[in-house]
Subunit: 179 residues, 4 copies
C-alpha cells in the first residue's frame, strides 16, 4: 500500500472512531469521509462496506485492549490488575459510543472478542490466585459485567464519581471472603 493510502486509511479510522463514538454506529459514512477530509469513494475503497469499517474499528479496539492487558500481566500487580483494567475500560467507554456498540452488539465479530476474552481470563486467574476474587467467579460473569458496565457508562449521568462508586460495588461483589 502506498504511503498516502496508508495515511488516509489511518485518517479514516480515526475519523470513524470519533464520529461513531459521538453518534453511534448509525452515523453516516459521508460524515466520516468529511471529517477525514477525503471523498466518499475513498472510504469505500478502504472499507468496501460500512460494516467493514465498523469491524476494522472493532479489531483496532480489541488489539489495543489486548495489548493493555498483556502489559498489565507483565508489569502490573497480579492482585489488582483485573480491577485496574476493568475501571480503565469503563472509563474509556464513557466517552466512546463505538466501544459500547461494538463490545455489545455485533455478533459476527465475536471471534475478535475471543482474543480479549482470553486476555481478561489471565487477569482473572491472577486475581483469584492472589485471593482477591472469589474462586467460584467465572470468566463469563466478568465479561458480562464488563460489557454491561461499559454500556451503562455511556449515559449522561455517569460522571467519574458515579463510575467509581458503581465499580466499587461490583468489585466488592467479586471479592472473596464474603458470604
Amino acid at each position: 500500500m502506498r504511503a498516502d493510502a496508508q495515511r488516509n486509511r489511518a485518517r479514516i479510522l480515526a475519523a470513524a472512531d470519533e464520529v461513531f463514538a459521538a453518534k453511534g454506529a448509525a452515523a453516516s459514512t459521508e460524515e466520516v469521509a468529511a471529517k477525514a477530509g477525503v471523498a466518499i469513494g475513498t472510504v469505500f475503497r478502504h472499507f468496501p462496506t460500512k460494516n467493514d469499517l465498523l469491524t476494522a474499528l472493532m479489531k483496532e479496539l480489541v488489539r489495543e485492549l489486548a495489548a493493555e492487558v498483556e502489559s498489565l500481566v507483565r508489569q502490573g500487580d497480579p492482585a489488582t490488575s483485573l480491577f485496574t483494567f476493568f475501571a480503565h475500560l469503563v472509563e474509556r467507554a464513557s466517552s466512546r459510543k463505538t466501544v459500547v456498540d461494538l463490545l455489545g452488539v455485533d455478533i459476527r465479530v465475536s471471534e475478535q472478542l475471543q482474543l480479549l476474552r482470553e486476555a481478561v481470563g489471565i487477569l482473572l486467574d491472577q486475581a483469584q490466585a492472589a485471593g482477591v476474587v472469589r474462586s467460584n467467579v467465572l470468566l463469563d460473569e466478568v465479561m458480562a459485567l464488563l460489557a454491561a458496565t461499559s454500556q451503562g457508562a455511556l449515559h449522561s449521568g455517569w460522571d467519574a464519581d458515579l463510575r467509581e462508586r458503581t465499580l466499587a460495588i461490583i468489585f466488592t461483589g467479586l471479592r472473596s471472603a464474603q458470604l
Copy 2:
C-alpha cells in the same frame, strides 16, 4: 377524544412496544402502523413525531415499573424486594430492546425516570433498613447498575443462567458486612 381514537392510541402503543422490542428503535413507523392495523397517518396524528411515540412508550414502561415497585413496597419482603425488582427488570430487558434503548439512551425523557428513581429509592431504603444492603450505597449507584445490567442483558450470550450468576455478584456487592 373519541372512543375509537382512544382505542387506536392504545393499539398503536401496543404495536410499537412489540415492534420496537423486537427490532429496536430503528424499526420503521410504517411497520408499527401495520401491526396496529391502522394507517400511517393515524400514527402521526396521535404521535406527531416518531420520537413522541418512543417517549410515550417510555412513559408507559416507567408507569408499569413504578406500579410494580409500589406493589412490592406494599406486599413484598422489605429485605429482598430490591433484589426481586432488579432481577425482574433485567430479565424483562433481555427480551425487549425497547426497555434498553429507552432506559439508556434518551436524555430528554429523564424526567420520566425520576418517578422510577423515587420508587426504587423506597426499595433501597427498605433493604438498607433491613440490613441487607450496605448503608453507604447510594441510589445513584443502584440506578446505574440497573441500567447497565439491563443493557447487557440484551446480548446474545446472556441466558438465564448467566444473568443469574452475574446478578449474584452485583447483589453480593450491595450486601453489607463484607470487607
Copy 3:
C-alpha cells in the same frame, strides 16, 4: 387504490415506457419520475424495485400483444394473420427499446411470455392449416425469429423499407412449397 394513485400509476408506466423505449433499461428511475411529474418516492411506492417497474411494463406489453393476436384470430384472415402480427410487432419494436430488451433479455419474466407464445401458436396453426406456412416449421423457430427481428429492428439503419424487405425474406422462408 385511490383515484389519484391510479392516475399516477398510469402516468409512471407511460413515462417509463417512453424513457426506457428511448434509452433502454439502463435509464434511471429518477428520469422516469421526472417525466411522470412525480417524486422519486412515488415511483418506488408503486414499484418497490426498478425491476418491478420493468416487469410491469412487460406484462402490459404482453397483454396488449396477446389482445392483438386474439383479435386477429377472431377477425383476421387465417392465412395471413401470422405475417400481419409479425410485421406489426417488428414495426413497433423499431421505436421501442423496451420491447426489445424485455422480449429478449429477462429470463425471470419468461412465464409472461408463455401467454404470448400460446397466442402466436394459434396464428401459426392457422397459417399452416391454410397451407401458407410449411408444416415442419415449429413454434420455437417462429418465436426466435420474432425476437431476433425485433431486436434488429432497433438499429438506426432499419427504416420502413428495409424492415419490409427483410421480413419478406423471412416470410418466404416460412412459406410452404419451396425446397
Copy 4:
C-alpha cells in the same frame, strides 16, 4: 510505442473481450484491468474512454470477421460461403455478448462495419452468381438479418438445434426459385 506497452495493449484487448463477452458492456473497466493483470490507469492510458475500448474491440472483431470472409472468398465454395459465414457468425454470437452489443448498438463505429459489409457483399455476389440466392435480395437485407439473428442467438433458449432450424428458415427465404 515500447514493447511492453504493445504487449499490454494486446492483453487488455484480450481481457476486455473475455469480460465483455461474459457480462456484456456493463461490466466494469476495473474488472478488465484485473483480468489483464494491469492497473486501471494502464487501461485508460491505452483507451482514454471506456467507449474507446469497446470501439477497439469492435475493430478487432470486424477485422477478424473480414479476414474470415476473405478466406472464404479465396478458398470456399462460392455457392455456400455466404451461408457458412452467416451460420458461423451467429454461432459465435451465441456465446459472446460483445459481438451482439457492438454489432447492434453503437452507431459511431458503423464506419468500421463498412469493411465487413463490403466483404459480405462479395459472398452475396458469389451466391447470387451461383444461383442459390435470389437476385433481388439486397446486401442491406442480408446485413440486417445477420445482425438480428446474432442478437437473437444470445438468448437463453437458443441452443445449437434451434439456431440451426431458425437459420434454415432464413436460408430458405434467401434461396431462389420460390414464389
